[in-house]
Amino acid sequence: MSEKLLIGRTIDTGSWVHRIDPRAKMVAMMLYVVIIILSNTWLEMACVAGFSFAIIALTRIHIKYFIRAAKPLWVLMLFIFIVQCIKVDDKNGAILLSIGSWNLYVEGFKLGLFSVLRMVFLVSFTAILTFTTTPGRLNQGLEGVLKPLKAIRVSPDRFTLMVSIALRFIPSILEEAQIILKAQASRGADVRELPWKEKGKMLVSLLVPVTVGAFRRAEDLVHSMESRGFRMGEPRTKYHRLVWRSRDTIFIGFFIVMLIAMVWMSGYGTGELWTL
């Protein structure tokens, strides 16, 4: 079940992309989202694909990992595809397929395909962020990106401490859940073999121990942090300091150039930004 979970899995190839400042990567990913939204024609999609593959190649991480990252969402994608196909009911449009009284229009099919492609690219590509950045650095980046929030009295270091503890302990808690699942299966409650209506009963036998376990961990963690002198809100120095280098600017530059190109193409192509 959770074996396909790829959260926080860094794949270290030591590439150029790995060394990029996490803040730069985060900004770049935001730009990528805009780029994806702007890609509305086959040509634009091809450009995005070319760009994405080029960046992916730079990471030196095998493409299969990126494909795998999008895999868990295939049901959702199928759903979106079908909805888009059904939604378009353009009486004047070209018909691709007719089943009884229902028509599949070329336009709907295209729209569905584009939605799915966008999603695949979005999910796979943004996996770069987790694949090339350790959770720790990701978190430092997050703190940097969230710094403006200090103005509205939200403290980013509290938030990032929370995130880092969550990142640190979620895998442990899932592992514990896995063991409890096995233990209860050994006591005759196997999720895979139980009929559907009895799976609910199973849930209690899983949730109670996992919750108790999480509290036990939390208590241990608090003791450990306190005995190392931690007090919320006390001043601390920072061991890791992010240093912005020229390569970070260059990395973001790629995305800005791509974004400008997209805006230009969509403007040039049809004169309207949102048509296919």
Binding site: T134, P135, G136, N139, S164, I165, L167, R168, P171, S172, R216, R217, D220, L221, H223, S224, M225, E226, S227, R228, G229, F230, R231, E234, P235, R236, T237, K238, Y239, H240, R241
Partner: protein, 306 residues
């Protein structure tokens, strides 16, 4: 490994720094590392106290084993020492400084604690982050932190693991990281709260060696809560707790030879002690052997006499 430090220039300069920064260090040199007077504690008012009127003091540099059955209050007692639990009755002094709400910070700086569960006390996302967590709290400069990470990681043999995530480490490695994290903060008292009980036999021996080295360096006062016979044997002094009361204060050898106290403390003596105690029942008085060879050598003449 720790001993080298004593004579090295690094240590002397450190000690110097400290006495300049904190003039009270010199005056408190003679005061005990830990002093408890009439300490009692109960989780709920109605319940029986978990800790019942405990008084003892531990001189600096001593290695004390704290033993007793599961649930006798050992863990509660040490958690009172650095205020992980709210204050109970009685007074606790750490290096002459009384534990009060305004001294908690100072006292936590003096006492380092290593806990039982290797995974749950790992705070950072990597080994390096875990070591610096406490150092950042002490507001040290990056240079000092780098220095400390390097030297303590080397001392505990985890220098190659600095960028590892806890899920990539074994239990024994995680405990080494925990110890490095604590020692890098340079505490004077280090408490091990059943730190070896979740480790396998071999790793437990490694941990014991670390404790011995720490003790030999003379820099640390060590309190270790343990059930492990070998660990008890290596310590200098054993405090036995039963139902929240201090019932015995002995040397390990005295403890291992006193069957009554042994039973009350739920400790099982090392095999050599068990054997000599049993042999004694058959009228064979043999001094406790250090190894199996010593035993056979002691027995052989008796066999020949037969």
């Amino acid at each position: 490994m720790f001993q080298r430090e004593l004579i090295g220039p690094h240590y002397t300069s450190n000690a110097f720094e400290e006495s300049v920064r904190n003039p009270s260090v010199n005056s408190s040199k003679c005061s005990p590392a830990i002093e408890l007077v009439g300490v009692s504690y109960g989780y709920a008012k109605k319940d029986l106290p978990v800790i019942n009127d405990i008084t003892f003091s531990i001189p600096q540099g001593q290695w004390v084993a704290l033993v007793g059955a599961n649930g006798c209050g050992k863990s509660t007692l040490v958690k009172l020492m650095n205020a992980l639990l709210p204050k109970g009755e009685g007074t606790i002094k750490v290096k002459g400084l009384e534990l009060q709400s305004d001294t908690i910070g100072e006292i936590r700086k003096t006492i380092g604690m290593v806990f039982q569960n290797p995974d749950n006390q790992f705070i950072g996302a990597t080994v390096e982050d875990d070591i610096v967590f406490g150092l950042e709290g002490q507001c040290l400069s990056i240079e000092v932190m780098e220095e400390r990470v390097k030297s303590y990681a080397a001392k505990l043999g985890i220098a190659d693991l600095l960028d590892k995530h806890p899920s990539e480490l074994s239990g024994g490695q995680k405990q080494r990281v925990a110890i490095a994290s604590i020692l890098s903060m340079e505490p004077e008292v280090v408490i091990f709260d059943e730190a070896s009980s979740m480790l396998d036999e071999k790793t437990r021996n490694d941990l014991l060696n670390i404790l011995s080295d720490m003790h030999k360096s003379g820099r640390y006062t060590i309190i270790s809560i343990t059930h492990d016979a070998q660990e008890i044997a290596a310590s200098e002094r054993v405090l036995v707790l039963q139902e929240g009361k201090l019932i015995a204060d002995r040397t390990p050898t005295e403890l291992f030879q006193d069957e009554k106290i042994l039973e009350m403390s739920h400790v099982i003596a090392p095999f050599a002690f068990q054997l000599t105690t049993e042999l004694h029942k058959y009228g064979l008085d043999i001094s406790i052997p250090n190894c199996e060879k010593e035993l056979t050598e002691a027995l052989w003449p008796l066999h020949l006499r037969k």
